[in-house]
């Protein structure tokens, strides 16, 4: 069974007066349920575009994203979220993504929390939109506050929290809806190095506890290696999948110390390999830009 299937997606942005930009070129991917996949690549490789297409914020020029519905049994498919705008595929329990929906949770970089609400109310936002009872919401919120280690901060306004704590809230807010797939767009990008390492541990822990399908986009080679059970390296112009890795580090990270893993020879070897790959891509872009100029 597949949780998510990205089927031959192309994305072309036409710029008035310029050449069309091929942000994504025939990208295909299948995700198994419970898979944690990190996506890495130099800027301009289309990784954020890809995530926005999966989230339903952008509609691709060609191809489609198909979402498996694990709740469905038999032929009829149940589609949660804003359903009217979502097309169906006959004979399967799947739906084609045509817009945002509650079954795909998002975690953004800092600044996407609702600063006018307290920590609790940010986390309660999704269940409240779904019309859950306030008793149910309370149970969910308390459980999640504990899960992300913020049990004493529920009543605080989010703007009083540090960057790392705010991202804990963002994770909890996303989990409150119990989404099938979690899409993370550079969630730790704005954090300082130490907080970032701690939060990587939390992401792994949450993945282990909830067994959600997670796609994580990052700039950091180290983060992509450490968190990605599966790692996709994308290349720019046109945006495409350059290489794919299966990695043991995320699983090992559940038991071993992250510092040890990141210092281990096989981790370092992979890191250098990927770094030189991305380095070459950047060189190539610079070369192209140089030719054009």
């Amino acid at each position: 069974m597949k949780a998510l299937s990205i089927q031959d997606i192309s994305m072309v942005f036409t710029v008035p007066g310029g050449d069309p930009v091929r942000a994504l070129d025939h990208v295909s991917l299948d995700l198994q349920p419970g898979e944690l996949m990190s996506v890495l690549g130099p800027s301009g490789c289309g990784k954020t575009t890809l995530l926005n297409i999966i989230a339903g914020f952008l509609s691709p020029t060609a191809g489609q994203v198909v979402l498996q519905d694990p709740q469905a049994n038999g032929g009829a498919s149940v589609v949660t979220g804003p359903g009217a705008d979502r097309g169906m595929i006959a004979d399967t329990d799947a739906s084609v993504v045509t817009g945002p929906g509650a079954e795909r949770g998002m975690v953004f970089q800092q600044g996407a929390l609702f600063e006018w609400l307290t920590v609790e109310k940010n986390i309660a936002f999704g269940p409240k939109m779904a019309g859950k009872s306030s008793a149910d919401i309370k149970v969910t919120v308390e459980h999640l506050l504990e899960t992300v280690g913020l049990q004493d901060f529920g009543k605080k306004p989010v703007y009083q929290l540090s960057g790392g704590m705010q991202q804990r809230v963002a994770l909890a807010r996303c989990l409150a809806n119990d989404p099938e797939v979690i899409l993370m767009d550079e969630p730790l990008g704005a954090l300082d190095a130490l907080t970032r390492e701690k939060m990587q541990g939390l992401v792994l822990q949450l993945w282990d506890e909830t067994r959600k399908t997670i796609i994580l986009i990052t700039h950091s080679v180290e983060e992509a290696l450490f968190l990605g059970e599966r790692l996709i390296v994308m290349a720019p112009r046109p945006g495409r999948i350059e290489r794919e890795y299966r990695l043991p580090f995320a699983k090992r990270g559940l038991n071993e110390s992250p510092r040890e893993i990141k210092a281990s020879p096989d981790f370092i070897e992979k890191r250098e390999e990927i770094l030189s790959m991305i380095w070459e891509m950047e060189e190539e872009i610079m070369g192209q830009a140089g030719d054009a100029a």
Binding site: A55, F57, T80, G81, P82, G99, P100, G101, A102, R104, G105, M106, F108, Q109, G111, A112, L113, F114, E115, W116, F125, G126, M129, A130, P157, Y159, R173, C174, N177
Partner: protein, 288 residues
């Protein structure tokens, strides 16, 4: 360094001494946070003005018709407070002006905020109203007084209409700016959490726009306070502006000066009050 004596809290508050942090800085010129409050000099300048006023009028350097004596002003304040002005209590003159401003701002906001939201969210509304707003915006509200007198006369409705108009355009622009200021990731987050369009509007776009809306209200209050006084100068039998105008006709310079001081004080009080309200109601301002 520690051998230096710590300045007393009072001296720091008055701005006559550096606070302990500023004292450690070697670069002060150009660092705005190293500029002290200067309250001590403020006290001196106010006292100097009052003393100059007292000396100049007591020594009869100035004709009281141009500028009243300090003692005469105090006498007149007592009389106005007790007897009122032209059979209307001083408080009523003040209140009617404040009431006109509040009404104008409220009506302006009630129409302006939804209109600003519509313009920020919907291209049709933007297209229809943008040329009108951009055209009327640079016209000072006072320039509309003659037209409004022609249309509605000089009764209460005419004044509140003028003030509502003055605040309307400020509120439209503020609400539209508030809508435009929403970070798209917040809207995306809300949709991903299952919010409908209406829920995104009420629970994300509206609260996100509140700081801008409040700034608009504050500006509208200030502009309307200036406009109401001017409108009353032109045509009114009550209100703080009319009091000044009538007093001028009788050469009661002391009342004119009192009226001006009251206008200044109330304008200042409105600003302070709005800032306090803002801190209380929108503590998240600027912290997204």
């Amino acid at each position: 360094m520690s051998s230096q004596q710590q300045p007393s809290g009072w001296m720091v508050w008055l701005g006559l001494a550096d606070n302990s942090f500023t004292r450690q800085k070697t670069v002060k010129f150009g660092d705005a946070s190293a500029v002290n409050s200067g309250r001590g000099y403020g006290v001196i300048s106010v006292l100097a003005f009052i003393i100059l006023w007292w000396v100049a009028t007591a020594a009869e350097w100035i004709n009281p018709i141009y500028w009243p004596g300090l003692d005469a002003v105090f006498d007149r304040v007592g009389k106005l407070a007790n007897e009122g002005f032209r059979n209307i209590a001083l408080w009523d003159h003040i209140w009617i002006s404040v009431y006109r401003v509040l009404s104008g701002v409220v009506y302006g906001a009630l129409i302006g905020i939804p209109l600003g939201f519509a313009m920020g969210l919907w291209s049709v509304a933007k297209g229809i109203f943008d040329p009108i707003v951009e055209f009327i915006r640079p016209i000072p509200p006072l320039a509309l007084i003659p037209l409004i007198i022609l249309w509605f006369g000089i009764d209460e409705f005419a004044k509140i209409f003028l003030l509502a108009l003055a605040s309307l355009f400020i509120m439209i622009i503020a609400a539209r700016a508030g809508v435009n200021s929403v970070r798209v990731s917040k809207v995306h987050a809300a949709y991903s959490l299952g919010a409908s369009k209406l829920q995104v509007l009420l629970r994300v776009i509206l609260p996100n726009a509140l700081p801008e809306i409040f700034t608009g209200l504050r500006t509208a209050m200030g502009v309307c306070w200036g406009t109401v006084v001017a409108a009353e100068l032109v045509a009114a039998d009550r209100g703080i502006g009319s009091m000044i105008m009538i007093a001028k006709n009788f050469l009661n310079t002391d009342i004119v000066v009192i009226g001006i001081v009251i206008i200044g004080l109330i304008g200042f009080a409105i600003e302070i009050l709005m800032r306090m309200l803002e801190r209380k109601l929108i503590p998240w301002r600027g912290k997204g």
